[in-house]
Symmetry: C2
Subunit: 598 residues, 2 copies
């Protein structure tokens, strides 16, 4: 299957247009301002006398922001942003060493320690700079940044692959592997693809540096990658590695790599993924844990990991065209990813918990040693480790990437959003207010085309011609097809082995996971039992600008005794649910995705 | 109300006789052996060249064991134990300083730091030695140990109350306050009572030493004790303080102290006590937290805190004769306390969780930084901080203390167990296999007596003459009365505000809390739903020697999908429940007290 780059797709309205506008008008500037305030931008000046010590991953924070700017420029030039990026490239050019090396921390703070500490994000920063340079070249046609990064890539190849004189062989935090594939795609320099393959192939073949608080599995180095079957360790490192594995599987026709990717993906979606598409359930190591270990209150589910999962799924889609990868992209997009930024576009979650109990945060104020480490309850504008905000900035403008794949006369429609796409001489126009409505019209202009439209995961029965989960339409040039997916809210339960969700249901409407918030439903959400008949009324919440749901539910009567014989007495209430992605936009409040049912 | 000391009561059979025999035949020796192995016994030799460095609280560990031996000697002399105790007293006599000071750590390791660090358990150790000396004197009539401890108490009085030249005013770990009351009771030296009052009065009046990771509330020093209304901080420190407050309230007729104790007790039983009578829900600070914060999986619920709660309740009973204190004693006795030692009497829990999920322990093996700190899943023979095992040794032989109070011609029967008691010229004989059966016969010999028999908390309606929760019987000399309490198992729910128990029930039969164990019910107990009609079959489990229960219950069908539309399909199963106190006696296994109900 071939991919359709977002540069060939214009999101013209609806759900994602709103978000793209928000990123362009608010978020890209808000993230820049916070990066400027915190010294991340000025760090590129390499001022050794600066009072602010650059962090080992600051290069990557800014690089991801630059990549985001590049993606915004594809559709519409933004001179003030382009000027900032050019200024940063000036500094990169100025401060890059003759040999090609470029890293702020390992030039300004610890120049003596270059390529000695596997876990210091050195190659991770390099990877993000490379991705940014590719994006900027593709958006603007300007090669300077790309050339600088080619020089850096050449130097890395020399040191790691040719001279082999570095203190470690493979990066502690994967990222450069997938970046090198992009460098190859844009330069056609096979060496970059080979270097990516080198890093992927060598991983897990020897004991390299490891933290004293975790095992090699933390950075997926416990066994060679082709032997891996389980998603383990740091979830972002993992997904970035899996992306590169899928990239290489595709380009080398490497069946072992492909099948490792398939096994790992299945492990994630069958055992280790929240209903929101969030992954990495443990704060310890920001990591995957054991199957079915999906605690809601302490869900780690880093925003970057949700993005990483989408990136991985997209590559698997290109490799297999299996509808399940687009199902998972949709799940992550509308839930675990979307929750990561506020509706005003200015603040961010690093962790995206599925339950918030502010009283437990209050409990821990009395003791600095926390009972349980819980995610913060409100989004903030910047983090010390602020990888997520710029990842959002680069992700939303490139959302078009996930809409289509194609092959000869067949076009596959994976995601639904109002848009116009140019694909292989064909124009595809989607008209829809999805996910608010399940109605989608798709017009094909240019030539007769076979359309394969993904039937969403929440559709149990589809009437019409289907194949492998796609609805098939032979569409004449100029013809429009209509679909209307049932968006009736549904009560969903987790596998019985997910102990943290036992006895509970989540409510989904189409691909959107809903939640209860204290601000709508009062305190003590855990005592609310959703009526098991699951009849919902839809209502626009004008305050949040989202489609809310109301349903019958029950609470127990307040009592004084701490323990008493079971009572069947109930107070009937109307529970209000809002999309999970919109939680925590009205002040600190209880929240839960999983509720009792009765 | 007057108390009836256990020395006037002989437990003649039944439930507690078994436990008393176990302590006498097994536990007292097992604890001694582990204390010997770990150097706690030899530490009394004050060998400065020893390779084993004594810990600051080792004096107290051994003192509690000595107190336990003393209680065993009341009923039956045990020459080998008495010899060990005499040997220890020899060492105490030999190593006590001329001034009266005695502390292993602050003589052998840090003699320069005496009375400088509020938190080093120095006065806590002194208190336990005093309690042991009182017990040994009362059991044997031998005064030597008591005299040594009087000398020490005199020295403490001089330094802390008269000269006031110590670096802190009140102990960081309360204990000496209640010990000094015992010293007063046996010596009639008012100075000891006054010193206890001094320590209690001065607490919370100034900023003293505090840990940097908690507030003054950790050792109940945030405000003066008479102003306190909430149970806060370290649960063992708290209950030992509350004991002394109640002791002093009784002896001084101090209404402010009494009412503080009443407020605190109500706070505990209405907001902060597990259904097992366990208290102190947080590992952080081994402490009470906010109301209704009663997590099951990470319940801290130290064995010593359950004992501390009983000791506090008993003093409140003497102060008020309110039946609620005996209710709570019964709850703690049969559950949160009893779970602390294995059925073979050789191993112990420090924490007594209400849920065990071994898979989550397995999860954390991959990472040395734990996701959540959970209690151990199996009892062990000794802890580094081994306060609980000797506390059990001293508690079980003195269980008779909680059976009766009396006043003029009235005798109050608080707990039910086969026994013969001598009370104020009356002999009371209880015949019962309680709590297995609810049948109790009580024979009164000596004179006509009004018996007030506590109606247990689990009895909703009692037919007969009652007053303030007691059934009243005017019993003639030689007459026997019969009671038959309904022991039908019941489904109990927690207050709706206890978020961790929402949607769940616990099963209690009489005063005994039951639990599900994986060894009986297979894995994934959280998916088991107890049938809401609550019909139970009783069956003796001969392996454990306990009364087990069976009931109808349901599981969901195993499925592959991680998420799916809610299904009402169920597999009917027979769930087996065993008394909570008997859990973890058949290897590591899941366990839960609170189960779903349907």
């Amino acid at each position: 299957m071939k991919s359709v780059d977002f540069s060939n797709i214009k999101i013209t309205g609806g759900f994602w247009k709103e978000r793209q506008d928000l990123i362009r008008n608010v978020t890209v500037n808000a993230v820049y301002d916070r990066f400027y305030d915190t010294g991340r931008i000025d760090a590129f000046k390499f001022d050794k006398d600066s009072e602010i010590k650059p962090h080992i991953f600051w290069d990557s924070d800014v690089a991801k922001w630059m990549e985001g700017v590049a993606y915004l420029l594809v559709e519409k030039r933004e001179p003030h942003l382009e000027k900032i990026v050019e200024g940063l490239i000036d500094l990169i050019e100025k401060n890059q060493e003759e040999c090609g090396y470029f890293n702020i921390f390992f030039t300004v703070v610890e120049p003596q320690n270059r390529f000695t500490n596997r876990d210091c994000h050195e190659l991770y920063c390099a990877g993000h700079l490379m991705e940014a340079s590719v994006a900027y070249y593709q958006a603007t046609g300007k090669r300077r940044f790309l050339d600088l990064m080619c020089k850096y890539a050449d130097y890395i190849e020399k040191r790691f692959k040719i001279d082999r004189d570095t203190a470690f062989v493979t990066p502690g935090h994967q990222e450069i592997e997938l970046a090198l594939v992009k460098m190859y795609e844009v330069t056609k320099e096979k060496r970059y693809l080979e270097l990516s393959k080198f890093f992927v192939d060598e991983r897990g073949k020897r004991k390299e540096f490891r933290y004293d608080w975790c095992k090699e599995s933390y950075h997926q180095s416990h066994i060679p990658v082709r032997e891996q079957s389980e998603a383990v360790g740091h979830a972002v490192r993992a997904t970035y590695l899996y992306c590169a594995m899928a990239d290489l599987a595709l380009r080398y026709g490497d069946k072992e790599l492909k099948s490792a990717c398939e096994r790992i993906f299945d492990d994630i979606v069958n055992h280790k993924m929240y209903i929101t598409g969030g992954i990495g359930s443990s704060r310890a190591g920001e990591a995957f844990t054991i199957p079915y270990d999906l605690p809601n209150l302490i869900a780690y589910t880093e925003s970057c990991a949700a993005i990483g999962l989408v990136l991985f799924c997209h590559r698997m889609l290109l490799l297999t065209n299996d509808v399940k990868y687009s199902h998972t992209i949709e799940r992550a997009l509308y839930n675990g990813f979307l929750s990561s930024f506020s509706l005003d576009g200015k603040s961010f979650f690093y962790c995206n918990p599925l339950e918030v109990l502010p009283s437990l945060h209050k409990r821990d104020e009395e003791l600095t040693e926390k009972t349980i480490n819980m995610p913060i309850t409100q989004r903030v504008e910047v983090f010390e480790c602020s990888c997520c905000p710029p990842n959002i900035v680069r992700f939303v403008p490139s959302i078009g990437n996930y809409l289509y794949t194609y092959d000869q006369n067949s076009i596959y429609v994976h995601q639904f959003t109002e848009s116009t796409a140019q694909i292989d001489g064909v124009t595809i126009e989607q008209k829809t207010s999805y996910p608010q409505s399940g109605k989608i019209s798709i017009k094909v202009t240019g030539k007769d085309t076979t359309l394969y439209v993904r039937i969403p995961e929440f559709i149990d029965t589809y009437e019409g011609k289907t194949e492998n989960g796609y609805a098939i339409f032979n569409v004449k040039n100029g013809e429009t097809i209509e679909l209307n997916f049932d968006m009736q809210p549904r009560l969903i339960e987790a596998n019985p082995l997910v102990t943290f969700d036992s006895g509970k249901v989540a409510i989904m409407r189409g691909p959107v996971v809903y939640c209860l918030e204290g601000v709508d439903n009062g305190p003590n959400l855990r005592d609310i039992r959703i009526d098991k008949n699951g009849k919902f009324t839809e209502k626009i919440d004008t305050d949040l600008g989202v489609l809310a749901l109301e349903c019958k539910a029950y609470r127990r009567k307040p009592t004084k005794a701490l323990y008493a014989p079971m009572s069947n007495e109930r107070i009937e209430i109307t529970a209000k649910l809002i999309p999970y992605y919109a939680f925590a936009n009205r002040g600190e409040s209880e929240m839960q995705v999983w509720s009792l049912v009765e």
